[in-house]
Amino acid sequence: MQNKKKQNSLNSLEEINFKPPDKNTSEISIFGPGIGECVVIHSNGYYYIVDSCLEKNSKRPIALLYLEQIGVNYQEQVKGIIISHWHTDHISGMNELIQNCPNAKIWFSDALIQKEAIKLVSLYSSTSMYHQTDDDISEFVKTIDALKKTNVKKFESISARVTVFDRRNIERERLVALSPSSHAIKQSIQQLVDNSKDREKINTQRKRFIVPLSSNLNAVALIFESNGKSVLLGSDLEINNNRLTGWFSIIDSELKDDLSINESFLYKVAHHGSLNGHCDDIIDNFLTQEHISVITPYSRCKLPTEDNIERIKFHSKDVFITAMHNAIPPERMRNVDKLINSVAFNRETRIGDMGHIQIRWKDQGDFMVCGNKISKQTI
């Protein structure tokens, strides 16, 4: 990897701007409370939402709260919702999002609507016995129900080279997927087949944690181009030994040249900054030397680690993280706390206040980085 020459950090950091961006201003807002992430994109008067997480107090999707706050009519203006992959930290509140954005087309991986996935979902949703351990399945079923309620088949499968929108002939804007590769989709389907085996037999016990963790292979990385700048949204995409999947598949299939992709000034770091989410070739070929990295943590696995952060700082001009690992613990009566501590130790709070980083830019102009109090700490 080339040694990136660093310049001084950003001169100005502003408080979040709660006025809606004008039509000619592009925006990326990245949210993360410690577990979960969501990205809101503004392009030419329309909004696109990638993934969903909940604000801890209201338990509502943060994207809706934010759009309400800046006065956006999300029922009309949200044109697309992209589900990058089916893990709880990326899909919480997805069904509410879909119900509130009837004008949006929904994009998700083809693997999710294959027979094997449908079979698994049907089995686990056939009774009320699935519960909070099956959050992924429960949210999937609610999402499908939300789609059915709209009574319009407004969904599309998304994979490498699929374009969500392309207005380059008028506004020089597009949103295009770099992953998953066709091989990754096949591999995910095979995993679902393996997971489905014996599950539909009478008198066999239900299983827990049925969504395969390895579905990160199927994560959708996106390139957003607008007003002369590019942004790379890494989702949870990782590298593994198989070069036909993950970040390697993007490099090997020469997507950058095929799709004429410009280097990005902003990178939503893949897989919460983990080493598995890191790919030198991506940094060298898809990001500018002066790029800014934004990390959404996954506190349950303590991602990013200090080493992860050091590595990301090494190749980025600036790094922002939406939240830190240990949120403020809830207050309880002293004697209750005493009893809790006699039964449970090493207590940690995972989800704290919502971190928000808002980046806006105009045609060929400078960009403005804004954050709330937590995300404004540079690290």
Partner: protein
């Protein structure tokens, strides 16, 4: 028929206490015969010709109530969590769990290591990643409690109970097949 001991059928009365009544010393002057399905009394006498009377016509001895001087214990819930096992290795004396506060749902989820000594013996084999449990912290009142040698009026207690997972039933499988057909139809591309 002897009038000294009258055994009557009260089978139509579901009251368990009443069912235990088998004989009375009182002689009932006006009685009405009723059919009985049970022809033997507890001591083996043939009851086929027993005389049956409506309960309201029987003169009963007044019930004597002797109140206990014991106060019934009460439990007052002060904190409840829904927990999920995140990690557990055989041989360790604790497991890692995610705790969602059900008493104050606005509180953030917490994670903690829970010691096994607080888990009921019958639940120990249920501890596996993904397993669900409920954790209650409550006050017990109404008994004599001692803490560090001093008598106290209420005691804080903790109880953890794991949820059992049911097996698939035929109806589940049939419902699943129906749901699968519906979903495949919905997602079918034309």
């Amino acid at each position: 028929m002897s009038t000294e001991t009258l055994i009557y059928d009260i089978a139509s009365n579901d009251n368990a206490e009443s069912r235990q009544v088998q004989s009375y010393e009182h002689i009932v002057e006006n009685f009405v015969s009723r059919e009985s399905t049970n022809t033997l009394s507890a001591d083996g006498k043939d009851l086929s010709e027993s005389i049956h009377v409506p309960l309201e016509q029987i003169k009963l001895h007044p019930l004597i109530h002797l109140p206990s001087n014991r106060t019934l214990s009460k439990e007052k819930l002060i904190q409840e969590w829904a927990g999920i096992v995140l990690d557990y290795e055989e041989g360790r004396d604790f497991f890692r769990a995610r705790l969602s506060d059900k008493t104050n749902p606005l509180n953030s989820d917490e994670e903690a290591d829970i010691i096994l000594s607080d888990i009921p013996q019958e639940d120990l084999n249920l501890i596996t990643p993904g397993a669900e449990f409920s954790w209650y912290i409550y006050y017990e009142e109404g008994k004599r409690y001692y803490e560090e040698g001093k008598r106290i009026t209420k005691k804080r207690s903790s109880k953890i109970k794991f949820r059992r997972l049911a097996h698939w039933k035929k109806t589940d499988i049939n419902n699943a097949k129906q749901k699968e057909t519906e979903l495949l139809e919905f997602f079918r591309r034309d």
